[in-house]
Symmetry: C2
């Protein structure tokens, strides 16, 4: 299993060189607009005095950490502003390894490929636990997999690629399991603003010294290239994570942090609601057409990906290329996310042409 990025580029490039029009449903890069205040914030920053162009505090601009802390109802000292969710997860997983309490990472299958990639880079072993057909965790299997060798349990809710949103009981039990086995629970909540079920529960609502929550503004504000995310650590774990952050990156980019701060301060709830509405419309249209194509699929409770399975057409790279050439639709092969969904193809709803794509699929498979 390879990481997301190279495979992702491989599919994108194949689609670009295709001899026909292709609807790109490969990448999870938002195609909608960031908040207006974000662009204004960046303009304002561009005219700031030279002193504002120098290092922010290593753990992020004070006002930004305070805005985050207030929203997440934690003390600002527990917040580290990171280079997107990517660094936030790296810091959390590295912090778990540093505790000398084992070396095994328990991940789900299917999985966001960066997690096993990071685990291996950190010298950890990886154990992947298949989820239920509906994307929910198989808690019997999780209980069996989590042992005293477990250093960290990594979950993503709302989930990429399954679209599942884990209920409160799941998060509670994961925290209990982490505590019982002296492991850490890492809850990656990067899609927290994309919950369509109303069931999303942040792991931060369950007090524990054994869980770390990460998130990012990449998807929230449609700015994957700005690299502003954050991690919320327990007090007992945060100092060493701050040291690593400083030794690896010194600090994050201040223009990006200033723009995100401006967006946080001036963006009302209607921005987030409008984006969700637009995504709901895309989900409905895409799923209706999948019905017409006779495909199995999971309707996402959160995030913005749909996993679909077409009879006799497993989610291999070869079949993904065939779909690009013959149907004009590009998705990600399910085998990129582990073995549990290698029959499936992931379609990202980051295009206004989601319905058109689904119609092409319906026609191709009819």
């Amino acid at each position: 299993m390879d990481y997301d990025e190279p495979l992702f580029f491989h599919v994108i490039q194949y689609a670009h060189h295709a001899d026909r029009d292709v609807v790109d449903m490969v990448s999870g890069n938002p195609d909608w607009d960031p908040p207006a205040a974000l662009r204004e914030g960046l303009h304002e920053y561009a005219d700031a005095p030279t002193a504002a162009f120098q290092y922010p505090p290593s753990d992020g601009l004070r006002e930004l950490r305070e805005e985050i802390a207030e929203r997440r109802n934690v003390d600002p000292s527990r917040v580290i502003v990171t280079i997107g969710g990517g660094e936030a997860n790296y810091l959390a997983m590295a912090r778990a390894m540093e505790r000398d309490a084992g070396d095994e990472f328990v991940l789900t299958d299917p999985v966001y490929p960066y997690y096993p990639g990071k685990a291996q880079m950190l010298g950890g072993r990886v154990r992947m636990v298949p989820v239920h057909e509906n994307g929910q965790l198989d808690m019997d299997a999780m209980r069996e997999a989590i042992t005293d060798e477990t250093v960290c349990i990594v979950v993503n809710t709302p989930n990429n690629p399954t679209g599942a949103v884990y209920p409160r009981e799941t998060i509670e039990e994961l925290v209990s399991l982490a505590e019982a086995h002296d492991a850490l629970l890492l809850a990656d909540e990067v899609y927290d603003h994309f919950d369509f079920s109303g069931d999303f529960e942040s792991a931060l609502t369950i007090d524990s010294d054994h869980r770390i929550v990460t998130s990012s503004y990449s998807k929230t504000f449609a700015i994957t290239g700005f690299r502003v995310g954050y991690a919320v650590f327990p007090e007992s774990l945060v100092e060493k994570a701050k040291t690593r952050h400083m030794l690896v990156n010194v600090t994050g980019a201040r223009p990006s942090q200033a723009a995100v701060l401006a967006a946080l301060q001036s963006t009302g709830p209607e921005y987030y609601e409008d984006v969700r509405d637009s995504l709901r419309t895309r989900i409905d249209a895409f799923c209706d057409a999948l019905d017409a194509a006779g495909a199995d699929y999971t309707r996402p409770e959160g995030a913005f990906y749909v996993l679909a399975r077409f009879d006799g057409f497993p989610g291999t790279m070869e079949n993904v290329k065939t779909l690009i050439d013959e149907a004009g639709v590009a998705g990600m092969p399910g085998e990129a996310f582990g073995t549990a969904r290698d029959e499936w193809i992931r379609f990202a709803l980051c295009t206004p042409r989601a319905q058109e794509a689904a119609e092409r699929l319906a026609e191709y498979f009819s």
Copy 2:
């Protein structure tokens, strides 16, 4: 020995709370203006379409890598755009450890404190080699220190804190030593635009599979907070470094990269020359006043720091605080950089009040 950053903040905070006016010569944050094109580039980027706000390639915007590669006369495939010089050095040092060719880092004393901090975080041992009084490397001592256990030799030219610029023969011998002992030479050239001696020689002019060169736009363009640096790896080492960069940070901040690209494309040599002229004036004024104060000091050949020693007044944190309170000048204690210069105090010339500070010192010590 602690890292630069916390000690640095400690001194800054002490100076801020002093009961008098203090000239801040603690931090190496430029106080001069970035190129006009940089601000314009950021404004232009702020109005770009949403697609331009998404992930750049993991190793950096293609045009930016090409600009860097052309200036450094290397193939763009060898360039990774990083989160400032900090991540560039981290990637280089981590790459050295991954080769399983030892575990010892050979550093200079005095040293930029992030190097030993990174080495320790990576699980390496640290061996520090005192430099000559004039800041040049003691090559006999270096030859003795570099063994088959050496994984990486880290040097910084022009040097912080000594101001030394290493001649070509030094760089050539360091490359030879690295090759002979299957180690890597890491040359951190972050001050490459601040050579007043005319003797600066980039390690890139010496072809070898055993040297990595890092640099950054933090000082070059007076934007330490933008976090845009780069590393140039040998072909044989670059792929694994790219993977680590991706797994730790995914990619760098695109607003920062876009602004730096605009500055590179539109900034003529007079910008760099003007900054150097202004620094030369500060160096002369400061050193003249140190003469009047009867201090030992090293006149920098490059970078923008002056190490000074006042008779019977060693560079301890306590004495640095005394200078803040009684002379109104804040510097960095020499003990922050190792033991070889613990009698000295480092003054950063990042203030228009350098001459005034020197006059205060002259008066205090007269």
